[in-house]
């Protein structure tokens, strides 16, 4: 009997040791990845990053055109994806709450949320690039918008569901039409949660590479036109990191540094604010 108790205690101890080791294992990779990215990237930072274009092989330059392209495509993706996402989320949470369509959409939206982003890129390629005959910043922005869409749908759906029903009942009792209840009262109540979701969505699409490969393609030169192939930070990182040139590797690390700081900074800031809000 006592020996059995000892075995059980040992198994218990081992399980807890394993759980602690697993957590250290997870944190170990996080710190290793962050440390190397920040160390390599910090060494590669210089003023030219924001003033010069991506260079030809073997010479120095910056990432100005890539930053510009990324910012423009993210902004345009936000313009397309946010209103559509909030509208669909409104349907799921409010206007179609108990409908069959809402159930199906809600289900498939979660599937879309985790679907391979490279397929979204190919979809937009077939949809926009092939008919137009050339790659373009618009196509890149649309691909990013399609990735943003399910994120905004999910968060606005959840945010609206958190608004207590008493608020809706009180508003209806005053005879306010439904669209005004939604737009003036429910959106206001859910605004913080929805913007949290949109900000996390920005963090997600800022690092997306695969959907841009066949849509915006990339552009070594300065181009402000969204109707032309457009450079972006992740695609430049991909091309330069895979190249055999040291100067390009350095630029890729610099881009990786800025991308990581932006994405993780946004994530942390949003989480801290959301936590304090609770």
């Amino acid at each position: 009997m006592p020996s059995r108790l000892i075995t059980r205690r040992i198994v218990d101890g081992l399980a807890f040791l394993f759980a602690s080791a697993a957590t250290l294992f997870g944190l170990f990779w996080l710190f290793w990845i962050l440390w190397t990215t920040l160390a390599h990237g910090f060494a590669a930072l210089n003023g030219k990053l924001f003033t010069e274009m991506t260079p030809p092989p073997g010479s120095e330059g910056g990432l100005l055109n890539a930053f510009y392209g990324s910012v423009m495509m993210i902004l345009l993706a936000l313009l397309i994806g946010t209103p559509l996402g909030i509208a669909a989320g409104t349907y799921l949470a409010e206007h179609g709450r108990y409908s069959r369509l809402a159930k199906v959409v809600s289900f498939l939206n979660d599937v879309l949320l985790s679907a391979p982003s490279i397929v979204i890129g190919l979809f937009v390629y077939e949809l926009l690039v092939l008919p137009a005959g050339h790659f373009s910043g618009y196509a890149g922005a649309l691909a990013l918008a399609l990735i943003l869409l399910p994120i905004v749908v999910r968060t606005s759906d959840e945010a609206l569901r958190l608004v207590p029903d008493q608020m809706r009942e009180a508003a209806f009792a005053l005879g306010i039409p439904r669209w005004r209840v939604t737009s003036r009262i429910l959106y206001k109540a859910a605004a913080t949660a929805i913007s949290t979701g949109v900000l996390l969505g920005i963090a997600r699409i800022a690092g997306e590479t695969a959907p841009l490969l066949f849509t915006a393609l990339g552009n070594q030169f300065w181009s402000a036109q969204l109707s032309q192939p457009l450079a972006s930070v992740p695609v430049v990182i991909f091309q330069y990191a895979m190249s055999p040139y040291d100067e390009w590797h350095t630029l890729a690390w610099a881009g990786a540094f800025i991308l990581t700081v932006f994405v993780l900074g946004l994530n942390l800031a949003v989480r801290l604010v959301a936590r304090r809000g609770k």
Partner: protein, 321 residues
């Protein structure tokens, strides 16, 4: 607000606006369906040339010859499945361990920060995983890990051939490990949430009967959370199957079928990312889109299964509470 306006006018005006508002939201909801179905349909349409030309041979042949116009997807399919399997073997026990640590062991004040740190693993863009994998992790694999693997695991009977090969750092094992790290946060987050949902009376009763904490986990929490955990594993699998950039960096883009996990290979997503802009014939392009179609269908099925299992746990909760 028109406080003294006649009631009829307000309501009729409200009714029209209501209808418009309704149409807009329904339309946006349909859009989600259209994107999903449209992506599947456009992949099927784009890949039709490859499917017509090769038929079933497209998935059974390992002959990928861009010059000769022969495209068989066995190698990328095999590479995708093997790397995802390695990823799951690593990520599942680790994620459950992390969830156990976060729900039972960690001092309460550390649970939030550690949980956020693990979630940040999911926030790191996959291109960063790829770069780190190529420049930092693969060299370590080549110089330290793979020679050791060769000398030890490589000598074992039966599984030996899996672990013997040139220690070049780039290959299925490296890609599988990187994928494993990437999906840990997804599985761990769901597992933590369901462990937290286990009704305290169930656990307390087990403790009162003299169970150790491990027995509570193994015989109460895990059975209670089983379907959600399986759902989380499928969620991770769906992510691993479709992950592109990280795998593209460390898998080596080789169209050879090899038993050894240390050898370079290819995956569906990596083949598309590497070759699509270089594809110069219609058949080549169509073959890559056909690959995307297969990937999309498989991930949608895997993710739907995940969602079904995760939905069931939520619904039973709705009833019991």
């Amino acid at each position: 607000m028109t406080a003294y306006a006649p009631i009829e006018r307000t309501t009729s005006r409200g009714a029209t606006a209501d209808r418009i508002f309704n149409v807009v939201t329904v339309g946006a909801a349909w859009l989600v369906l259209i994107v999903l179905l449209g992506a599947a349909a456009s992949m099927a349409w784009g890949g039709r040339l490859a499917f017509q030309t090769f038929g079933l041979k497209f998935i059974t042949s390992s002959d990928w010859d861009a010059v000769g116009g022969q495209f068989g997807a066995l190698v990328p399919i095999y590479g995708t499945l093997v790397t995802s399997a390695i990823a799951l073997i690593i990520a599942v026990p680790v994620s459950i361990g992390i969830a156990l640590f976060l729900t039972e062991i960690a001092p309460r004040w550390t649970r939030g920060p550690i949980g956020i740190a693990i979630e940040l693993l999911a926030a790191i863009p996959s291109i960063i995983y790829g770069m780190w994998g190529l420049f930092v992790f693969a060299p370590v694999m080549a110089s330290d890990v793979e020679p050791w693997v060769n000398d030890h695991l490589g000598q074992w009977p039966i599984v030996g051939p899996l672990f013997s090969g040139p220690p070049i750092g780039i290959g299925m094992l490296t890609a599988g490990i990187v994928l494993g790290i990437m999906i840990i946060p997804f599985i761990a987050a769901v597992a933590r949430d369901v462990f937290n949902q286990v009704p305290p009376p169930l656990k307390e009763s087990a403790i009162a009967l003299g169970s150790t904490r491990w027995e509570v986990l193994n015989r109460v929490s895990l059975p209670y959370a089983r379907s959600a955990i399986i759902g989380a594993i499928f969620l991770g699998l769906g992510r691993a199957l479709g992950e592109t950039m990280a795998v593209t960096f460390v898998l080596g883009n080789a169209h050879d079928l090899s038993v050894s996990l240390l050898m370079p290979s290819n995956s569906i997503a990596a083949a598309i990312a590497n070759e699509f802009t270089e594809a110069d014939t219609d058949l080549y392009r169509s073959s890559l889109i056909a690959l995307a179609f297969l990937l999309f269908i498989v991930t949608v099925i895997v993710l739907s299964f995940a969602k079904l299992l995760l939905m069931r746990i939520n619904r039973t909760h709705g009833r019991t509470h």
